[in-house]
Symmetry: C2
Subunit: 237 residues, 2 copies
Amino acid sequence: MKQDKIETAWSGAEKCETCGIRHLALFADLEHEDFVHIHNPIHEVVFKHGEALYHLESAAEHVYTVRSGLVKLVQYLPDGTPRIVRILRPGDLAGIEITTGGNYQHDAIALTPVETCQIPMTVINTLSEETPRLHRQLLERWKNALITADSWLTQLSTGTARNRVINLLLWLDANTTQADGSFTLPVREDIGAMVALTTETVSRIVAELRRSDIVSMLPGQRARIDRDELALLIEEE
Amino acid sequence: MKQDKIETAWSGAEKCETCGIRHLALFADLEHEDFVHIHNPIHEVVFKHGEALYHLESAAEHVYTVRSGLVKLVQYLPDGTPRIVRILRPGDLAGIEITTGGNYQHDAIALTPVETCQIPMTVINTLSEETPRLHRQLLERWKNALITADSWLTQLSTGTARNRVINLLLWLDANTTQADGSFTLPVREDIGAMVALTTETVSRIVAELRRSDIVSMLPGQRARIDRDELALLIEEE
DNA sequence: CGTTGCCTTGACCCGTATCAATGCATGTGG
DNA sequence: CCACATGCATTGATACGGGTCAAGGCAACG
């Protein structure tokens, strides 16, 4: 349990105003005057693949803006089986649920190397009362989280194993693709936890798609897919 | 498509202050001074079993506080199969997603006779800017909706058919039970749409539970369950 | 008394879980 | 530099849960 996340701390939020991803971050709409209301330190925190931003039982003190990488939100069935209920992308907010009190609702674990801004809950609360701009951003996050949750239910938890995996691949392609048109393919076990299938079934399906050249692998667990071909495979009811 | 919902209209919100379920409604925390900010009419609207509060493509103009009864939120798979993504209970807010702009995300359909207060979106928006009390209530609704969505994913969309149905029964019992300790059991088809099973499979499971006297039916589609026995059936992994 | 809507039950088959072995890459220590 | 361990992906054989198709059953209702 080595604590080797990298932290860059500064008091206040001077760097937020010049943040490279501010256009999609929580503070996107803030004006200069708003930033002076931030009194508590905001840290830049980096997590390696597999590290946890927080656990279910962690003290509910910070929310995290995801600057780069992917984060999985995990809940556990009574028998201990993990189920990934959502994936967070750059611009998303991890731990938003603690802003209205109560505890974290998931384990948040880095699927890839992840850069975050760690924001004290108190900053969110005081700031959101003083500026409607932040409030609007927060409401937007709530809404997006809920829409995503609903679409996971309909697209990734219903239908045949093949369709579920294909829908996930399409989602990953549409939402996590980088400049070269490829995206990081999670390990089979994680895919299984997202679409409620065993790793073997996932492996069989992915292997089959690779044999038909609809999915091709690149170095570093990265994949490229033929969107149109994949979409076609779902049509057949 | 007869429009036979019952409407009782009044301008402003005089009746809200004396509302019988105000303790769990959206306006729970509002003070007298807040109500004067309500200029648009709030209607009491009643829906019969099977009627829609709104559809995906409806004009996004109102949110609904559920005063009594149950409402299902439905989305559709590409092939048209309906999937129930959430059930709303008295005190819940239907259509909350339109308060940040955009369209309804579901069809909202009465599972039982339903009484609602139909609140114009504009009332929510102007009021929430002027009183932090309402804002806190809204955030609470967002949070609850998300927590519910996540728990449906882990409890009702994962595991064996039996466990999913049992978890749903336990949820219905815990959340929709009335004074006599019984609750309304939705038709098999709706249960199937909630837990992603066919009506036949649901029927078989419910019938088996009735034979073992763990579930007993009362007149009027109402059911009573043996909570402890049911909970035990899930332990076996 | 027939119709309608929903529930139940049966027979059969397919899809996915399960159990088990092997392959393949990456890393580590001798 | 090789030998072995480790972690993940793949593949196969088999069992079984749930889907599918089809036929009643039962209650409410006109």
